[in-house]
């Protein structure tokens, strides 16, 4: 049942416990309890909304930053990653294989704000060797959702 719940919530976290209960063949109480357990076990760790900020007045600038770091003895990359992801400006941070080590997503109000954050906070961290900052110009798809696609039912009446 838990996997079914995760599958449903992953696509629509606003769906009610009652509806999930019908879909998985359980009582709403059992669904509520299962979700609580998933949350307590750190399996469900948040509920986000996918927003196209472009269409609002508060525009947001996003940058994807490739960071090379020196791993620290005994702590690997975890310690430096922690120092980076604690900043509220950092919305995502992952350890990567390949040409660089950490992939950091930074959000800010303006390009300047993001650039200053990189220059003043990120780059000076002791074990950071280099940062390559790439600004997002246009988002086509995020979290499985395509931007700027008008969902309209275009099916025509057909007799069958």
């Amino acid at each position: 049942m838990k996997n079914q719940i995760l599958e449903i919530l992953r696509n629509n976290s606003r769906i009610s416990d009652e509806e999930i209960a019908v879909m998985v063949g359980a009582t709403p109480e059992a669904v509520k309890a299962a979700i609580k357990e998933l949350e307590e076990n750190g399996i469900i760790i948040g509920y986000n909304t996918v927003i196209d900020w472009e269409k609002t007045e508060n525009e947001i600038v996003t940058a994807y930053i490739e960071v090379k770091v020196t791993p620290q003895r005994g702590q690997g990359f975890d310690k430096v990653a922690e120092r980076i992801y604690q900043f509220p400006q950092v919305s995502a941070c992952s350890l990567m294989s390949g040409g660089f080590d950490l992939f950091v997503v930074v959000e800010g109000k303006t390009m300047k704000e993001v650039a200053l954050f990189v220059a003043e906070k990120l780059a000076p961290i002791e074990s950071v060797l280099s940062c390559a900052t790439h600004f997002v110009l246009k988002k086509y798809k995020d979290n499985g959702v395509v931007f700027n696609r008008i969902q309209k039912d275009e099916r025509e009446a057909v007799i069958l």
Partner: protein, 390 residues
């Protein structure tokens, strides 16, 4: 010249579909919800569409062989074997058609004509009866019963058979009821049919949309395989309705003759769709699984909603339709659907559109978004409450 007098009586006497007026009404309405359209609301999975586009880019715009590309027929043979344990040779036992619809038509025309009777269990897909009438043969309805969960009963066949009976057309999983036939159900039917000279057309377009257990085909019974034409296709399983591509499998003697009609009337199926269909069978399964899982969730939500609205509703385990019993409202199918559309702007299709035995029922499809289903069920409950309160 009065052109009407020139038209064949078979065509003139076939009534137009009873559903049309509802579609005309809904077109005039704002924020109406249609639970009337019998096709997936999903787009064709991208890898399948992309293969169609690629074939066009490459200039692959010629005819295929009449029976369809051999690569596609090989994929169909592999699919029928792995998915339904049915053996058909890609050379001679498979024909690629313009949707399942064409396969139904040419199968009927190959076997029956004036003087022949064709058993058509109802409620069922409206085209069966129409195509039988166009062929000049006589459709003989078998009235399926809600208390049998709309499964075909052996005694019903025995009661309907005459010396002129030459064919039976079955569609399971069923449109409009969502009923399925499992192995035991078929076994009883096979006992009746195995010694008779009656051709079985088994329309299995909704086979992939089976939510409990595996889909069973009547052709899986060895005593039935050499007199059964299995019809399947891509429209429902792979959300490919507009591509118009399906297929028929059967004994080579039958397929060879069906091919004659196909080659003179149609030539071959659209080749862009054929290239896309090859990709669908090679790599489409994960996407089909996702769609089936989503349909299943909506199905449960819809059945629950109808029951909460106070309508009896047997649990459909196939296709993407729910067929609630609306008799407790005291309305006929037509009155129910017209009232629901006018008062609450929700379109359902009256059950009698699919045969007289559908009277007292109405069809709703869950091939639509959960938001639409939720809102439609709220409105339906409001309508039923109002009608029942008088």
């Amino acid at each position: 010249m009065n052109i009407r007098q020139m038209i064949k009586p078979h065509i003139l006497n076939t009534p137009p579909s009873g559903i049309r007026k509802y579609f005309d009404m809904i077109n005039e309405m704002k924020d109406a919800i249609s639970l009337g359209i019998g096709e997936p609301d999903f787009e064709t999975p991208w890898s399948i569409r992309e293969e169609g586009i690629y074939s066009l880019e490459k200039g692959k715009t010629f005819y295929s062989s009449n029976a369809g590309f051999i690569e596609l027929r090989r994929e169909i043979a592999r699919y029928m074997k792995s998915r339904f344990s049915l053996d058909y040779s890609p050379t001679g036992e498979i024909i690629v058609t313009v949707g399942g619809s064409e396969a139904i038509d040419i199968a009927i025309r190959t076997f029956v004509g004036p003087g022949d009777e064709v058993l058509v269990p109802e409620p069922s897909f409206v085209a069966y009866k129409g195509c039988v009438m166009f062929s000049g043969a006589t459709p003989v309805p078998i009235e399926l019963k809600a208390e049998d969960r709309f499964k075909l009963q052996p005694q019903q066949i025995l009661d309907a058979i005459t010396p002129r009976t030459k064919m039976i057309i079955m569609g399971y999983p069923n449109n409009p009821t969502g009923a399925t036939m499992d192995y035991e159900d078929y076994k009883a039917i096979v006992e009746v049919l195995k010694d008779k000279d009656i051709i079985v057309i088994s329309d299995e377009l909704y086979a992939e949309l089976t939510y409990r257990g595996n889909h069973v085909s009547i052709a899986q019974f060895p005593e039935m395989k050499d007199k059964t034409i299995v019809i399947n296709g891509f429209s429902k399983a792979f959300a490919m309705t507009g591509w118009r591509i399906g297929f028929a499998c059967g004994p080579s003697e039958a397929i060879t003759q069906m091919l004659k009609i196909h080659q003179y009337a149609i030539m071959c199926s659209p080749t862009t769709a054929q290239f896309a269909a090859i990709e669908a069978l090679r790599n489409g399964e994960p996407e089909v699984k996702k769609m089936v899982a989503e349909y299943n969730r909506r199905r449960l939500l819809m059945v629950d909603g109808f029951r909460k609205a106070g309508l009896d509703c047997f649990e459909p385990v196939g296709a993407f339709y729910v067929f609630p019993d609306i008799r407790s409202t005291g309305l006929t199918s037509d009155e129910f659907c017209e009232g629901l559309l006018k008062e609450e702007r929700v379109l359902m299709v009256p059950g009698n559109a699919f045969g007289a035995s559908g009277e007292g029922f109405a069809r709703a499809t869950y091939a639509t978004s959960i938001d639409s289903i939720r809102e439609a069920l709220t409105r339906i409950k409001r309508f039923v409450d109002k009608v029942k309160a008088g």
